[in-house]
Point group: C2
Chain length 326, copies 2
């Protein structure tokens, strides 16, 4: 007889995450019972990975487990939150226990690294998708928002941009993979399949950044959101976009276009008042994360791209998970 | 140009739920910011509605909005929790604004009735599904669980059983709808499409019920879970199962089979020590909800059905969303 939903959940999800003392009752009842810290605000988010929209059929379950948690961790990182508890809702075409084992391994490795307990889950039958909900904490009034930027603030991004987009294209076999450089190609694909949520950076930016968000849809789509929420315009200097060696090797002089349009990097975009800008270099060293100044907020609205050929005007909205995907 | 994901979320989900003073920052940033009550435990759950598994293609969006929230509210009711905050993750085949308007109306009406704020949401493109996550509160140590039942405790169910299953079959056009009695058929279908989560009952059962759960998979599947978690056997008296007039009219002498197997009633099943059993009748009057004693917990394990023809033994596991559905 095939295993029932509660049996599968108990077998694969019950012990996947971290153990936490604030979980009074985890997976197994109608709901989980948790003890919130008395002196913190709660920060909650949910995000989904849908086959065909966010990953291709046949994508490795281990990577999907990692990514499904990572995209939610990235939202908490953007708020400067400390992650704590996750719930996972899985839709699978069949009760594939190998898939569940691999998913739980990918999810669990990241969950334990970040101290996240998996406190609830459910399984349904249908087209493959994974929805994760995540709760974290921040001290009262200290959470980062998109709306705090002011004209004159410097714009920074973490890591390098465009790698995940290139990795995604490589994973889809389009464009045809160039010969040679297998290690570099693999590095890009790794960036798509195993994004690194910038939790420690988000926490360190509390009280330093004036505004912050994560780059899930790409700089061209996301920067107008941060600038708009802050009531500012933004100028972006193309030459200062951080590009990885593998991306430069693959895309040559067009690498900056990947960096502008590339979604799913899950790096942080943040603004910093002039007075704090000098602290960012020290933070980059301390956290071992590249932090690159690539523009400034300005009075007004809209986005200005400063390239080698001069200024390009740009008006909001481009890549959008809902409108742009097949 | 089609509306982007953030535009659609802002247009249809931003004001769908209740307003709550403990929501510091709702929909629109990377995550929501909430103030947890200092003197309560948090109770969290997530549940999904998948086209093909939980509803038929073409199901009304208004009903889906109601049900997607109701099935989660029912989990909180089973724990005796006060609901507070919801997140909704929608997967739609296309950006159908009429669908979103109707969904938000169905979700919003129930959310406002129960005081639930919708604090986050996301939209993706893909096969239709709705995943909701819900957080509520209960005083420390007062949440109901499945595991507190003891031999001798009375078993109660709320409302009437089997109606949703019959309504679901009617909605699917199978079996052929009998002639006449349109009001009764409509009543059953209503029970499937607009289940009533028993929030007030769950709260009232704190300190009264020894164990509680909601009936999502049907009594035959769910009773063994409550009895098993409580380390007990259970005896169920078929003749005492509460059956609605419409179900009796439709199914005649077989109505009790629907009541046993019927999933998705979202009534509460709970056990009550002998000393509190007398209080239940008063509670039924006060809350205007039928509460029917239909069995007892016993020493041992397994489920015993006491019918007119005598005792039927029954060993766990039957209906299961994952194993049994197409």
């Amino acid at each position: 007889m095939p295993a029932s939903e509660p049996e599968l959940i108990e077998r694969y999800l019950l012990r996947a995450g971290a153990e936490r003392a604030d979980v009074i009752l985890g997976i197994g009842d109608d709901a989980a019972l948790l003890r919130a810290p008395a002196d913190q605000e709660l920060i909650v988010t949910t995000d989904a990975l849908i086959e065909g929209a966010h990953f291709l059929p046949g994508a490795a379950a281990h990577s999907l487990g990692h990514r499904a948690l990572a995209v939610n961790l990235s939202d908490l990182a953007a708020m400067g939150a400390e992650p704590a508890w996750a719930l996972a809702s899985l839709v699978l075409p069949q009760a594939d226990e190998n898939w569940l084992r691999e998913f739980a391994a990918g999810f669990g490795a990241l969950a334990r690294t970040e101290g996240v307990a998996l406190v609830g889950g459910n399984l349904s039958r249908g087209p493959l998708s994974i929805t994760v909900q995540l709760t974290g904490f921040a001290p009262p009034g200290m959470a980062l928002r998109r709306s705090g930027g002011r004209p004159g603030d410097w714009l920074f991004v973490s890591g390098t941009l465009g790698d995940a987009r290139a990795g995604r294209l490589l994973a889809s076999g389009e464009p045809p993979v160039p010969a040679g450089q297998p290690a570099q190609l693999q590095a890009l694909q790794q960036r798509f399949e195993y994004p690194t949520p910038r939790i420690a950076l988000g926490r360190a930016l509390r009280g330093v950044a004036s505004a912050c968000m994560d780059l899930s849809d790409g700089l061209l789509a996301d920067l107008p959101r941060l600038a708009g929420a802050s009531g500012c315009a933004a100028q972006l200097r193309i030459v200062d976009l951080p590009l990885s060696a593998p991306l430069r090797a693959l895309c040559g002089a067009q690498a900056w276009q990947q960096a502008l349009q590339g979604g799913e990097d899950y790096e942080l975009l943040f603004s910093v008042p002039e007075t704090h800008a000098a602290a960012i270099a020290a933070l980059a060293v301390q956290l071992k994360v590249p932090l690159s100044a690539c523009g400034r907020l300005q009075p007004g609205s809209g986005i200005e791209l400063l390239g080698e050929a001069g200024v390009m005007q740009f008006s909001a909205s481009s890549f959008d998970h809902f409108a742009a995907l097949p």
